[in-house]
């Protein structure tokens, strides 16, 4: 049924249809509307589940671990600082093989504290052993949650569904909410691979030493590899049941004859495609490759989608790896290793919620001499002034405050 809904609300309704049995949540912008909606559904009885208001994100993931190990379908949501705080438990959940589904409402990581969207939070957990799926639209966000439960439970691997904070969570769009029963047909009951059962007791969470640790990790690696196929078949099944394309590994757009291809994750793909449409109208052979599944990295799908034509691949990243530069870029390079690779440029854009505009993107794409690493729309003036300050005095003060003052955002007059 078609509805005009805030992204968070849509996700909440989708999650509810998946019949989670334990929902635990700690509030953090911008995920709050999801769990608020779910809490109301539980309280009215519309959703039969246990809803726990936990004391921290670490507790949230821990409660989900306990619930999942006891055989219940478990769900939580977080972002940014919260994701980092639960990081120990995030790794733990993957290591124990528990099919928890978590929404990460992508948000920048402080310091400096910033509540707006970028991908640094999800990227920080890319090696934790979770599947990471990135939604482009609110529709895809809600669809991915439904697929996520099925994929997670089939593989016994937890799944992170990433959706851009504010840009998707707080944006109101038209979405197609599944009919009751459609989700039940798609998503079977949870049958655990291992469970805490007093009638058939096992010890879960043993200490494993050098003699077997490698093998355990290899098995995790191998299961990740297998998940690529599972993700694809889930998406195919989803298309059959719900009559639309959602999820999958990659989403190419006008890539067949493209000479330049822009690679990106998340909601920015919308703006990129609009820009590419404009450029195509002007005769430029540009294409877009959206990466829906970031972990495991769909190297073969990327290779296939890129083909051999492009001479320039631009990777648009909403996160930064200090000390080296791009994150997704590294995976792209590895995917293309051993082939005649096109020129690859990394563009860091939209950090901390800065808007990525068609105008800037156009300017970027029209530029031929792109540096290997560029920061889109960087205010070099501000940066230079701070660098100068730092050269001039040892106690130059906190950089963020200095820059804000330069921008006239904070009270000036000191220093």
């Amino acid at each position: 049924m078609l509805k005009q809904l805030e992204g968070s609300r849509a996700v909440a309704e989708a999650v509810a249809m998946c019949r989670p049995q334990v929902i635990c949540a700690y509030p953090i912008t911008p995920q709050t509307h999801i769990v608020e909606a779910l809490s109301a559904m539980v309280k009215t009885g519309d959703l039969e589940a246990e809803f726990l208001n936990v004391e921290s994100e670490f507790a949230a993931m821990s409660v989900a671990i306990g619930a999942s190990a006891a055989g219940a379908r478990a769900y939580t949501a977080t972002a940014s600082q919260g994701l980092l705080y639960m990081s120990e438990a995030v790794y733990n959940a993957a290591g124990l093989g528990l099919p928890i589904v978590m929404t990460v409402a992508n948000r920048a990581i402080g310091a400096p504290i910033n509540i707006w969207n970028d991908h640094s939070d999800s990227m920080s957990q890319r090696d934790a052993g979770w599947l990471q799926l990135f939604a482009e639209t609110n529709q895809e966000a809600l669809d991915l949650h439904i697929q996520a439960f099925r994929i997670a439970e089939e593989l016994s691997i937890p799944v992170m569904v990433c959706m851009d904070g504010f840009l998707l969570t707080h944006a109101s769009e038209r979405v197609d909410i599944p009919e009751p029963g459609q989700v039940d047909a798609f998503l079977p009951r949870y049958e655990p691979r291992q469970v805490l059962d007093p009638d058939d007791p096992v010890s879960i969470g043993a200490m494993v030493g050098p003699e077997a640790f490698t093998e355990v990790r290899y098995l995790a690696f191998e299961r990740m590899r297998q998940s690529l196929g599972v993700i694809e078949s889930a998406a195919a099944d989803f298309a059959k049941t719900f009559k639309r394309d959602s999820g999958g590994l990659v989403r190419p757009y006008l890539t067949d004859d493209a000479e330049i291809i822009v690679i990106a994750l998340g909601s920015v793909l919308g703006t990129v495609k609009d820009t590419v449409d404009d450029l195509r109208a002007d005769g430029m052979k540009v294409g877009v490759l959206g990466i829906t599944t970031f972990r495991p990295f769909p190297a073969e799908a990327v290779r296939e989608a890129l083909g051999v034509k492009p001479r320039h691949v631009i990777v648009l990243e909403r996160a930064l790896a200090p000390g080296t530069g791009g994150i997704v870029t590294a995976d792209i390079r590895m995917a293309l290793a051993g082939r005649l690779a096109p020129r690859i440029s990394t563009v860091i854009a939209g950090l901390g919620g800065r808007a990525v505009t068609r105008k800037s993107l156009r300017g970027l794409l029209e530029q031929d001499d792109l540096d290997p690493l560029t920061f889109l729309d960087l205010d070099t003036r501000l940066v230079d002034r701070e660098l100068q300050r730092m050269r001039a005095a040892r106690r130059s003060g906190p950089s963020p405050e200095n820059i804000l003052r330069d921008l006239g955002i904070t009270a000036s007059g000191i220093g």
């Binding site: 049995q21 246990e50 936990v54 004391e55 670490f58 507790a59 190990a69 007791p201 030493g209």
Partner: protein, 351 residues
């Protein structure tokens, strides 16, 4: 209501069992077919108080729940010595996640069981003092505050033993640990620090809080069993001496725990909804020196010279406990004294 001792003049009031007792009056530990939640082959040190305390508590819970129980364990000695791949010495359903999240994971298990309509299965969360009062504290408090249906058991050996005897928030003053060494002007752990997890649990006004030691099995079993009478958050704090960390002889583990209670340093009591409802009176009071002397972690209080200034402070703490919890029979009001006096034949109530 307080524990009613079976009075046997030879033994039985204080021993594990007695051949003269009826089957239904016997302790869980004395039965030949006891569940042995923690069985042999584990890698605990000789004379480990925690191994003993864990089996005592969990066998009692196992009996009280007819085996329908799940245990969630924090990282620590108990977890490490019991589950080194490929061996596990647990015979119950058991989960280990992380160091600081056992209470939260237990809450999750309890929530799942409730959601699945299986509230007949009961949940026990357990960990050492480090995992409970320090790193696990936030999760513990959250579990208490939500009144989740979990019995949390803290095995208190008063330091981070598994990692090499480092100081924790439960380390008593003057005790030597690897991070509060017996050197300098103020050897051992500082005075004026530390926290009482049982009192903090009581401040949350959860249904049931109790302390116990491995020196009094019947009392411990009674409390573990009693805890299962309640639904909601419950806390059991058990003193478990560590021969290695405390520097006591492995054969002395029970004796050390006994001296801890008989000196007044470790008060044994029960509380419901934030109020003390019973305390186990001291049988034969001893000065704290008797307790301190047999542990090398306090050796610096006696050699090269006796530190009477420090010992006095420790004694004052013991005196305060005795006063505060009414641990000497003569200190009790007549009514409480009567309710605590050993009765003649009644056995501890069981569900």
């Amino acid at each position: 209501m307080p524990y009613q001792r079976i009075k046997f003049y030879q033994t039985g009031s204080f021993a594990v069992g007695n051949r003269l007792l009826d089957e239904n009056q016997r302790s869980v530990q004395s039965t030949a077919g006891r569940s042995n939640a923690l069985t042999c082959g584990h890698r605990a040190c000789q004379g480990c108080g925690e191994a003993l305390g864990a089996r005592y508590a969990l066998d009692a819970v196992h009996t009280a729940t007819n085996g329908k129980m799940i245990a969630v364990n924090a990282t620590g000695c108990l977890e490490v010595f019991s589950t080194p791949f490929p061996e596990t010495s647990w015979q119950i359903a058991w989960l280990h996640s992380l160091f600081g999240n056992a209470p939260a994971v237990a809450s999750g298990v309890a929530a799942a069981l409730k959601a699945m309509g299986r509230t007949d299965i009961r949940v026990v969360g357990q960990g050492g003092d480090g995992g409970t009062v320090d790193i696990g504290f936030a999760c513990l408090s959250g579990m208490f505050e939500r009144n989740d249906d979990v019995l949390y058991i803290c095995y208190d050996n008063q330091a981070y033993m598994n990692t090499g005897v480092q100081r924790s928030g439960a380390t008593p003053p003057a005790a030597r640990t690897a991070t509060t060494q017996a050197v300098g002007r103020e050897p051992g752990n500082r005075f004026g620090q530390g926290k009482s997890a049982p009192l903090i649990a009581m401040a949350h006004e959860i249904p049931y809080v109790a302390t116990a030691t491995v020196a009094d099995l019947r009392d411990l079993e009674y409390k573990a069993t009693r805890a299962m009478d309640f639904r909601g958050a419950r806390y059991l704090h058990i003193l478990v001496p560590c021969p290695l960390g405390w520097g006591s002889a492995p054969a002395d583990t029970v004796k050390v725990a006994r001296l801890a209670t008989e000196s007044g340093l470790f008060p044994v009591f029960e509380a419901e909804t934030g109020e003390v409802v019973s305390s186990t009176p001291i049988r034969h009071r001893v000065p704290v020196t008797e307790y301190l002397r047999i542990q090398a972690r306090y050796a610096h209080l006696f050699r090269p010279k006796e530190r009477t200034d420090v010992i006095e402070k420790i004694q004052a703490a013991a005196d305060r406990n005795i006063r505060r919890f009414g641990l000497l029979p003569e200190d009790l009001s007549a009514e409480r004294a009567e309710s605590l006096a050993p009765a003649t034949v009644t056995s501890p109530e069981r569900r």
